[in-house]
Amino acid sequence: MPGAWDKIKTAAKEVGEKVIGRGPEVKYRHEAQDYSDKNGVSIEIAQKTILARYFDAVERKAAVTRAIDYDSSEWRAVAAAVKETMGDKGIDGLKKTADDPRYPCRPVVLSPAEFKRSYSAQEGYYKSKYEKRAPDYAVLKDCAENAAMFANYSKDFRSFVSSFSGNAASLEALLARNPKMKAEFGRLFQLKGLAEKHEDRFKKDMNFEKTWNASKVELQKSVKEMLTGTGNYCVNVVKACQMMFQGNFGAGLMKGLGETAKFLGIETWGAIKVAYHGGKVLGSKVKNF
């Protein structure tokens, strides 16, 4: 039994882990330990049971979105389980096995109808997240295929883990004996990585496009501001001269300003006209005083 000091040290360590973003690892550790304590089973069995539950959550989420969610807390929990049971390099090991030609991928063939459904799910996923925008066909096609593979492998792996949940072997040992499943598990991480790449790129493209459009708007604004400054000066001249000389100065200038205002927009022209007529009235008042 750990002493009070050990408990404090563990709690402090876990706070530190949470701070550096390893909260899900801490959560998994506790859930597995609680399950082991409450059900009187080994920690290895508890870990696999909790992992199977995590896969349930991944499947439930995937059933709703039918996409590989960038911010999936469900998948983050799976990753935490791997890191916790197989170490920080556990995921790399899984991916390496996925690349091993001895364990080729089980292809997932989509019928045209399935592909269409998956494709529109990817489109919907992006549009709901990014101002009703989605990437082009090539990206969505890849996402559609990847999401279908992800759903299939995820289901397989969940069955695999569940069927061995009563087995005393650790997840790592179990995967060592089943390299095909290990490869499939690794492929899930690869697919998640590729989905993140696509989404990161899409965000980057959107930002690029926004900056591009903003540059255009900014340039056009600068051109108009330059002319607005000139127009305002002209109005001031008209008003000042009318005040000073009580004459009907500025009719020609106002005509010129009409052309300028046409380019600047109707709103500016309205303001200029108001200023001109204000000046005229003021001028006539001075004259009649």
């Binding site: 996925a98 492929r187 493209d205 591009w212 340039l219 002319l227 000066y233 010129g256």
Partner: protein, 140 residues
């Protein structure tokens, strides 16, 4: 017509000096003013100079606006064409990848995205060049 109040004249001189006319034009107006005072003919000249310059500035602004529209449309068109060509090439390459070889697919996508980055850098350079052209045009 006698417009010759002293304080008004000082204000008129200031208006000329603060105007967007070039210094030679200002100088010429001030010379006429010192000779003729604020006569109706002088005011007519002042107004004509302003109208002419305003017309020039408006023309320049309209021209620059067209440059912005045309150049951005050209850059957009070039970018879209080049990106479409990169995408077409990628799709051909992806078709040769064994189904489910995620690593091979990822490698192709990585290379594609690097090329898109390079293309976007070229576009950013193009936009910078247009901006410079417009800003220089604005000072004329």
């Amino acid at each position: 017509m006698d417009f010759g109040k002293k304080q008004d004249n000082a204000e008129l001189v200031k208006l000329i000096n603060d105007s967007f006319l070039v210094s030679d034009e200002k100088k010429a107006l001030l010379e006429i003013y010192s000779r003729e005072g604020a006569s109706a003919a002088f005011l007519q000249k002042f107004e004509s100079a302003l109208v002419e310059k305003l017309r020039q500035k408006t023309e320049t602004a309209i021209g620059l606006d067209k440059v912005i529209e045309t150049e951005f449309a050209r850059i957009t068109d070039d970018y879209n064409k080049q990106r479409a060509s990169l995408t077409e090439k990628l799709q051909k390459e992806l078709a040769d990848v064994a189904p489910g070889d995620v690593t091979a697919k990822t490698t192709l996508w990585d290379a594609y995205y690097v090329k898109v980055d390079e293309l976007q850098k070229v576009v950013a350079g193009g936009i910078q060049a247009v901006s410079q052209k417009v800003l220089i045009g604005m000072t004329k």
